[in-house]
């Protein structure tokens, strides 16, 4: 296999992170499991949110995992892509909204 920082096989080893710190690792996975249970939001809605966040944080493991998970949960391609656009809008908007600060500064510096 080519040397790369990201290997899809590594996702299967995620649970091994408890090897170096069992107590905290276990707490994380227990919490993770609880987060994705059906609650005020459905498991399907949570999966779409996770897919969007996976793109926002640009995690290839999470993108693989939640692409498959949303497919399994019956999401359509359109719904999945719209979720990614939500992440994109927030990321893009987060840059753009800072331009108000730029405008403020321009106003202050300009005659």
């Amino acid at each position: 296999m080519d040397k790369t920082y990201y290997n899809p096989e590594d996702l299967k080893k995620f649970e091994n992170v408890t090897d170096f710190q069992e107590k905290l690792g276990k707490k994380f996975f227990d919490y993770y499991g609880s987060v994705f249970e059906e609650g005020a939001l459905t498991a399907r809605e949570k999966s779409l949110i996770a897919l969007a966040v996976a793109h926002a944080v640009q995690c290839p493991y999470c993108i693989d995992a939640y692409t498959e998970d949303t497919l399994e949960k019956g999401c359509s391609e359109e719904q999945m892509m719209e979720a990614v656009h939500v992440a994109t809008a927030i990321r893009g908007g987060a840059s753009l909204v800072h331009s108000v600060q730029m405008i403020n500064k321009v106003d202050k510096l300009s005659m």
């Binding site: 399907r44 399994e72 019956g74 359509s76």
Partner: protein, 348 residues
């Protein structure tokens, strides 16, 4: 598209399919064996709980050639159950209290003796399920068949792999979704799928790709919402079915480089509760030539009933069949993954 057998494709040979899912490469070879998993949970040998469903594959001929078809069915398949063999089935059924007769194919409607047989089974007081691909009912030759089935109280279980056009047509061929919607509306019109009509209409979901089905109830809710909102269509139940790694679906897995991962996924999702409820424990499958199998998948792999049980409908013996040992192999992981899978959907 031609069937694998018409293409003389190596995967049309059941022995090759079994070899692939057992020995394709070192990774596949190293995976847990189904028999070992059954042994771990005390289910080996796998025994029937008693035959309740008499599932007859009346022929492999079909008007469609779907990409995932485990039967490798299509217009070029000529295997059709004869009236003589159908009569053997009736003779076998007469002496039993088996309640359900499940007709599958191919497109079961294409068997030339279909109406006669439904009529005869109906006279025996059995409940009849017909597994329809829907599109066959959109042809002139079969357009009055829905009313015939309604008159006989036939339950219709039909394929609709997704609620959207795109994914349905990818798997089943361009135009399938539109035809399916047209036929579902027609079935609704004569009462199928409507509350209190007594005419049961079920849809079958199966993943369009190398992934497992999600929660059946959640998918049913989504289908109900979308089909009602987009198409004014109603139905009674939705069954999620896992694709088993055989025939055309196996071909897809190999061509797309998904075989190892999919097998691993099925095995990692092995669920002991699902194993206890697998359909082969309450079903017998009859092939077009009268051969007996533990299920329709074993039929396609030509794995007949074994261990002293009769393997042809002419030699029907309910007691021996109820005490048989079920024949299994690696494909059986498809029925035990997650919530389990059967012709009636999830089993847990």
């Amino acid at each position: 598209m031609k069937s694998l057998i018409a293409q003389s494709h190596s995967l049309s040979d059941p022995a090759v399919q079994l070899d692939v899912i057992n020995n394709h490469n070192e990774k596949v070879k190293s995976l847990d064996k189904f028999e070992n998993k059954l042994e771990e949970i005390g289910l080996l040998p796998l025994k029937p709980t008693g035959i309740e469903i008499f599932q007859i594959n009346v022929g492999y001929m079909c008007n469609m050639t779907c990409k995932h078809c485990h039967v490798d069915a299509g217009p070029d398949r000529k295997e059709i159950m004869t009236k003589e063999t159908l009569q053997y089935c009736l003779d076998a059924l007469k002496g039993t209290d088996i309640e359900t007769v499940d007709l599958t194919g191919g497109a079961p409607e294409m068997n030339p003796h279909f109406r006669w047989f439904v009529d005869e089974v109906s006279k025996l007081g059995k409940h009849i399920i017909v597994r329809s691909n829907l599109t066959i009912l959109d042809t002139r030759k079969f357009e009055n068949l829905p009313q015939f089935m309604a008159d006989h109280g036939v339950e219709i279980t039909c394929s609709l792999p997704f609620y959207s056009k795109r994914r349905t047509d990818i798997q089943r061929g361009e135009g399938t979704y539109d035809k399916s919607m047209k036929v579902l509306k027609m079935l609704n019109k004569i009462g199928y799928g409507k509350e209190d009509s007594g005419l049961q209409l079920n849809l079958v979901y199966n993943p369009v790709g190398a992934f497992l089905p999600g929660d059946q109830e959640s998918l049913k809710k989504q289908y109900k919402e979308r089909l009602w909102k987009d198409q004014d269509i109603v139905f009674n139940d939705l069954f999620t079915i896992t694709n088993l790694p055989i025939s055309r679906y196996l071909n897809f897995l190999m061509q797309s480089g998904n075989l190892e991962e999919y097998m691993e996924k099925l095995i990692n999702a092995f669920n002991p509760s699902a194993a206890k409820g697998v359909m082969c424990r309450n079903t017998i499958s009859i092939g077009w030539d009268g051969s007996l199998y533990d299920c329709d998948f074993n039929q396609m792999l030509q794995m007949k009933t074994n261990h002293g049980a009769p393997d042809h409908i002419k030699d029907w013996n309910l007691e021996k069949l109820n005490n048989r040992e079920i024949v299994t192999d690696q494909h059986c992981f498809g029925c035990t993954a997650g919530a389990g899978s059967s012709c009636g959907g999830a089993v847990t």
